[in-house]
């Protein structure tokens, strides 16, 4: 094997492999939207509890079926707010719109911005829970000591799998004051899909 040609090939090969390295670095970042898409598709992490958009999800009440919807509230880090659902659980009929209220109160003596992140369990129910109104759609600014009474308007569509008799809707409140300040200049603050 001639010396010069093998070292030339080696150098070309090295650059090709370096290109692979660059691609794989990009692939790491590409996993972010990919993961979002997969979650949306499968309902993984209860991420696709969507807004009421689909035309086929009309109000068509299935009054024979009763499903229990439980509400779970958590404050990330635990101290900033008190946060709870007005009722811990309600019985619903698929296809009917319900409004429930959540109460949050800022325990700090300074302004904070909160962002509630929803999650639905079991994951197979996630895509059948639709919200027309939710405090989680937007960041929620709180003045020092302010309390808020916040509505969530939702329905379970009749296509909810038959084996599901209990659905848990969980909200975790995150303190995003720093993020909101950083995004202050921009048009739209970061907000999670909900």
């Amino acid at each position: 094997m001639a010396e010069a040609s093998s070292s030339g090939k080696a150098h070309r090969g090295s650059w090709k492999l370096a290109a692979v390295v660059a691609c794989m670095f990009g692939f790491g970042f590409a996993l972010v939207p990919l993961y979002g898409a997969i979650c949306q598709l499968t309902g993984l992490n209860g991420k696709n509890a969507g807004m009421l958009v689909s035309a086929k999800v009309q109000e068509q009440v299935d009054s024979k079926r009763t499903v229990k919807v439980e509400f779970l509230t958590t404050v990330n880090g635990g101290r900033v707010w008190t946060f709870k659902a007005e009722q811990p659980a309600i019985e619903v009929h698929p296809g009917q719109l319900y409004t429930v209220y959540f109460d949050a109160a800022n325990q700090q003596d300074q302004d904070v911005v909160g962002q509630a992140v929803p999650s639905v369990a079991p994951w197979s129910a996630a895509k059948h829970l639709h919200k027309t109104e939710c405090f989680c759609f937007n960041q929620q600014p709180f003045k020092a000591g302010e309390a808020k009474h916040m509505p969530v308007r939702f329905m379970l569509d009749p296509e909810l799998p038959a084996d599901v008799d209990t659905v848990t809707l969980s909200y975790t409140f995150f303190d995003v004051t720093r993020l909101a300040q950083q995004a202050g200049g921009r048009d739209k603050p970061n907000s999670p899909k909900s």
Binding site: S6, S14, M24, F25, G28, F29, L31, F174
Partner: protein, 544 residues
């Protein structure tokens, strides 16, 4: 590159000229582009890191000697578990194998050096800086990273001043391994001796070719993940911040997409070493050469589609649990092929039990134990019980210490006569082996029981009923660590205190085959400047 090339061409003019021996003094080591020098540097670096990481594990085991807090606060304990893992994986095992690749791959395939000698030099000299960064965090306010080597957010984002140092250290380690991997690939693909086709290459070279591809494919993904952590903490992004629309579970996916191939990066070169040593001392050709290559390739492929078995408890759909469970169990098939082939190679061989062979046999046996506990962990339903317990700790230490580390030790015993030109002390080697083989089991076997009984990992304190097994484990740890000094002394004898030692012949082991045994011992500074000829067309990895 041009410089290295010049130096290289130049060396052809003066065959084995004195001007091209090693430079004198410290600058030899700083400026060297010689694969043997760099291999030596890598191996000493690895030894240093094993020592430092080992000291941390002793601190951990000392704290776990009995329930309650003895010697350190929980923060320091967590720093030790985190940095112990990073140091052992990225500082001990990986540079150890890169050192072996540096020394042996060119000599095994009949190449004069690696394809990119200058890059090789840079790749090594990045490492001391990376680990200085990482280890210096112990002296920062707030201490070293303590969130576990898996650096899961949001916990790791609470790391104090040491966080950016951790990230940049990981970046540097990544750059070092990627350059090393590219170097190995282009060397193996372009510089093999005439007649040595890929499927006639020594298995150690094969194991490294596959490992290098794994490194090239996954280290950049880790670099991406830690970059996202960095921007999440300092630049207001929300890749993993649920409050900003991200998802911390995403990090686990990205991390383990790197992390699972990484565990094969740590073990495949060991497979190559064992596949070299067992035929030598069984005095038989390796059973099923081609199946060994295909088994390694299948393991490498499967390693990309099993990552979520590390996160069964995080909440994945049933179909996902099943897929990752079965794909994980599938890895047992090629691994089983390898273990079968090693045993079949020994079957009816005329075996002798020199130290490298002893370590190789212990590898086959103990690595299989680690493999079996891995199969247990692969079962999604029972993993909910084992997850984050000492059972996991026992499992991965069985595959890493009697697996990867015994592989490195076996390789050092096997090739050190070739490196230094003198024989190590066989009696001390055997003593080192028996102490290591016994105490590694005293150290890690009880941890299976602890895990099954429910003792969680990464805690400095535990319920009192776990005391007995923890004490056995701690005794094992201290004796295992102490017995490594026999190894250290044996190496130093060959390297420094060589007077009166038995000189090693070119073919150190009568059953050894391969091109590295055709050059004198110690191997000259430059070997195979002219490619070797007369390679057996049938079995060229068995050079005569």
């Amino acid at each position: 590159m041009a410089q290295a090339q010049d130096a290289h061409d130049h060396s052809h003019d003066h065959d084995h000229d004195h001007a091209h021996g090693p430079e004198k003094g410290i600058m030899r080591w700083i400026k060297t582009t010689n694969h043997k020098d760099l291999g030596t540097l890598y191996l000493w670096f690895s030894a240093t890191m094993f020592f430092i990481g080992g000291l941390m594990s002793l601190a951990i085991r000392a704290e776990l000697w009995q329930p309650g807090m003895q010697y350190m606060d929980p923060e320091l304990f967590n720093q030790f578990t985190t940095v112990h893992a990073l140091v052992m994986i990225f500082g001990g095992v990986m540079p150890g194998f890169v050192g072996l690749a540096n020394w042996m791959v060119p000599m095994m395939i009949g190449a004069p050096d690696l394809a990119l000698p200058r890059v090789n030099n840079w790749g090594f000299w990045i490492l001391p800086f990376a680990f200085t960064l990482l280890l210096s965090t112990f002296f920062l306010p707030g201490g070293a990273p303590a969130g576990g080597w898996t650096i899961y957010p949001p916990l790791v984002l609470q790391t104090g001043n040491s966080f950016p140092l951790l990230i940049f250290a990981i970046h540097l380690m990544g750059v070092s391994s990627i350059t090393g991997a590219i170097n190995v690939v282009v060397t193996i693909l372009n510089m093999r001796a005439p007649g040595m086709t890929l499927l006639k290459m020594p298995l150690f070279a094969w194991s490294w070719l596959i490992t290098a591809y794994l490194l090239i494919a996954t280290m950049p993904v880790l670099a991406g993940a830690v970059t996202m952590l960095l921007t999440d903490k300092y630049f207001g992004t929300s890749f993993f911040n649920a409050g900003g629309g991200g998802d911390p579970v995403l990090f686990e996916h990205v991390f383990w997409f790197f992390g699972h191939p990484e565990v094969y990066i740590l073990i495949l070169p060991s497979f190559g070493v064992i596949s070299t040593i067992i035929p030598t001392f069984a005095r038989k050709p390796l059973f099923g050469y081609a199946s060994m290559v295909y088994a390694m390739a299948s393991i490498a492929f499967l390693s990309f589609i099993v990552w979520a078995h590390h996160m069964f408890t995080v909440g994945i759909p049933l179909a996902g649990e099943l897929f990752f469970m079965f794909s994980t169990m599938l890895i047992a098939v090629p691994t089983g092929v390898k273990v079968f082939n090693w045993v079949a190679t020994m079957w009816r061989g005329s075996m002798t039990f020199e130290t490298p062979m002893l370590f190789a046999i212990a590898f086959v046996f103990l690595f299989s134990i680690g493999g079996f506990s891995g199969l247990m962990l692969a079962l999604a339903p029972v993993d909910f019980q084992y997850h984050n317990t000492y059972f996991v700790v026992a499992h991965f230490h069985y595959v890493l210490v009697p697996g990867a580390v015994f592989g490195i030790i076996a390789a050092v015993y096997y090739w050190i006569p070739k490196w230094t030109g003198v024989m190590y002390n066989e009696t001390l080697g055997k003593l080192h082996f028996w102490l290591s083989a016994i105490f590694i089991n005293v150290l890690f076997f009880p941890q299976h029981f602890l895990g099954l009984a429910g003792m969680p990992r990464r805690i400095p304190d535990y319920a009192v009923q776990f005391t007995d097994f923890n004490q056995i484990s701690t005794i094992g740890a201290f004796f295992f660590f102490a017995s490594q000094f026999i190894f250290f002394y044996n190496i130093l004898r060959c390297v420094l205190w060589r007077k009166g030692l038995q000189p090693a012949p070119a073919r150190v082991w009568e059953g050894a085959h391969g091109l590295e045994w055709t050059v004198p011992s110690p191997a000259p500074y430059h070997t195979f400047e002219e490619p070797p000829t007369g390679i057996d067309a049938e079995t060229p990895w068995v050079a005569h």
